[in-house]
Symmetry: C2
Subunit: 112 residues, 2 copies
DNA sequence: TTTAAATATTGCAATATTTGTATATTTACT
DNA sequence: AGTAAATATACAAATATTGCAATATTTAAA
């Protein structure tokens, strides 16, 4: 049925579903970065960074530009940042909900 | 450092990273649905639907309401649909890119 | 108190992802 | 040609996720 398209979409989300890759994307908000840059920023070893970048590259989420021996990575579609913003908004809502729940539980204990 | 938060975010995206779960969420755009409803809509067996719903429930993406023996599921935060919309926009861009590439390749072959 | 309907959970083999380590590849420089 | 820097890839062990089939649980009604 809608199998292929939804599989495609699922693969896209799968590419985002990793802490290191999310951090990489956050760092790319401020423009392209080299692998060494990211390696420093994330305090990760070179090959791990390269591997995560490969995942993002395969899903076409990032673009790569080579200058000499240096590879510069950037986010292909600025809409991605919008997506991350909406995701952040959802997390905030989530945290507010959790906080309210805690507050409620605390009050229940106090009035007892 | 930012480990826990990004792990949390990654888990959220992981919950979206499955074709069946994406289809379920699309169906929930038009309001709450019972497990049987979804089972029919998706042409999946009951236990698979329940399992995927469990994943969405664990990540607090959907809410569940029970009425008799029937369980009604709905999306907790409408922002989620906004997120899916942005994702859709990204896919469209992506497809346009692919299409243009194909077009270009076709033209190259024709003029040769 | 059986029975049926609706939903949830469990167990497990098959796959897929992650993580760390080692090894390639590419490019520029000497 | 030989070497160093930057990046990429290969591989294997540890984990996690799927996809089914079987089994439980819960609720309402006979």
């Amino acid at each position: 049925m809608h199998q292929p398209l939804h599989r495609f979409k699922a693969d896209f989300f799968k590419a985002l579903a990793h802490p290191a890759r999310l951090v990489i994307l956050e760092h790319l908000r401020s423009g392209e970065k080299s692998v060494t840059d990211l390696q420093t920023l994330l305090a990760m070893d070179q090959s791990s960074v390269s591997q995560q970048l490969a995942v993002l590259r395969n899903r076409q989420i990032v673009d790569m530009r080579k200058e000499g021996t240096t590879a510069y990575y950037s986010v292909r579609d600025p809409l991605l940042f919008e997506l991350l913003d909406v995701a952040r908004a959802i997390f905030n809502q989530h945290l507010i909900g959790t906080q309210e729940l805690l507050q409620q539980l605390t009050e229940e204990n106090e009035t007892r």
